[in-house]
Amino acid sequence: MAFTVADVVLAARDLSPAYTPQRHPDAICWRFLTRYGRTLLGRIAQLRPSALPATVTTVPLPLGTFGSGVPVPDDLLLLSVSARPMARRDDSARVPVELLPAGQRLTRSTRLPWAVREGATVFLSGTAADWTAFDLLELRTVAMPATLANGAATVPLPDDALDVCAQQLGAFLASRVAQQPDGDKVSPRAAQDAADKAEATFLDRLTNQGRAEVITMRRVYS
């Protein structure tokens, strides 16, 4: 069961009577959660991408303008690229497309298919003629989370991240309290320490004690 932005704000406000809606309106909390959610998802994507749902985007081949490449939807991580052979209409048939570091594109000498990513575009190797054997390209990405613009919005994180988000929001609010001239007795350092500990515990659990996954991008030494 997913949790919402309102769940996080409620849990954070329960951390201290100083975190009042009058001094710290919901909209400010939502903006922080948008920023923090993207940062935390980025770390998860880096450490254990399989913990996050993939967004699948398909692009028909041939491309309209081969040299313009394939636009990648707004993402945190490009997990994989694959192509469907023309001869096999079976939807499950895919040929993995190796993703190479952009710097390797001119030195790559092995057989097709491969591609490089530059910015928000994936460029296929060779020329359009090299891809005539394929009719579809499939991109699997971890999508960039949308802006959390209201309390009903679902936070795109695993359920057990509720406490982490609440602790981090609490630390953010504590730093705001400390800046107020008549601020209550709240220790921003203690709040941030608690939040960082919660985040570390969560990431440890999620990533099996910090052992990261190895993903697709492969360097080629030749």
Partner: protein
């Protein structure tokens, strides 16, 4: 139970053996104004100490592009949407943002204030039409004649504030009456202190998630005894 201005004046004149009740008809306008100013002062003080005590709520429709502040509002402390009666449909609080930072809380329904009116803050989701419910600490209806009654919500046990204010007014008009003015003011101040305490403690069992109700940027306020007419 409300008291009439007549009853207050009678009680006030009865506090001193130097009083001259035969002057009441000639002084009726001035005495009524003393009662009125005293009541207004007490309500204004209450709005800063305990805004909820003399409070009210009213549904205000959009007129000429804005929602007007209630004419008897001493202190507005909350605005809410009225569900389907508000455009767009808003059921929770509508925040008041500064006129020069209207995008401060984008995502939460907000208005800004200018003059005595509230205008839509202009962001997506902000109210644009329909009604808003305004919660406010109110002013009392004016006491304009001897038949006028004090506000029904004003506790009778604090009517001596009015009585001693009338007595002090009379003593001052008579040149102080050899120290009687100070005695009347002192007694009035004792009742004022009781009223202040009442406002502070009248409801003790409100349970809040947040420790205290802070509605003012400063914690200072003028003592009530310095605000009423006879000084003190």
């Amino acid at each position: 139970m409300a008291a009439s201005v007549q009853a207050i004046v009678d009680a006030g004149f009865g506090l001193s053996r130097y009083s001259r009740p035969e002057l009441i008809p000639a002084q009726s306008a001035a005495l009524t104004q003393v009662c009125n100013r005293t009541q207004v002062t007490l309500f204004q003080f209450a709005a800063r100490v305990n805004p909820l005590y003399f409070s009210d709520q009213v549904d205000v429709a959009l007129t000429s592009g804005a929602w007007s502040r209630p004419t008897n509002a001493e202190a507005v402390f909350r605005l809410e949407g009225r569900g389907a009666a508000t455009t767009p449909n808003i059921t929770g609080e509508v925040l008041v943002v500064p006129y020069d930072d209207r995008a401060a809380l984008v995502g939460q329904p907000a208005v800004y204030r200018l003059g005595t009116r509230f205008f839509s803050a202009g962001n997506t989701g902000d109210p644009t039409a329909g009604e808003l419910r305004i919660f406010y600490a109110r002013r009392p209806a004016p006491l304009s004649t001897f038949a006028s009654l004090t506000d029904a919500a004003f506790p009778d046990e604090f009517l001596p504030i009015f009585h001693y204010e009338i007595a002090a007014f009379n003593a001052r008009a008579d040149g102080g009456r050899d120290g009687e003015l100070q005695e009347m003011v002192a007694e009035r101040n004792r009742h004022i202190a009781l009223f202040e305490q009442f406002l502070e403690h009248e409801t003790l069992n409100e349970t809040r998630r947040f420790g205290e109700l802070r509605r003012f940027p400063v914690e200072q306020r003028a003592p009530l005894k310095a605000l009423v007419q006879a000084g003190g």
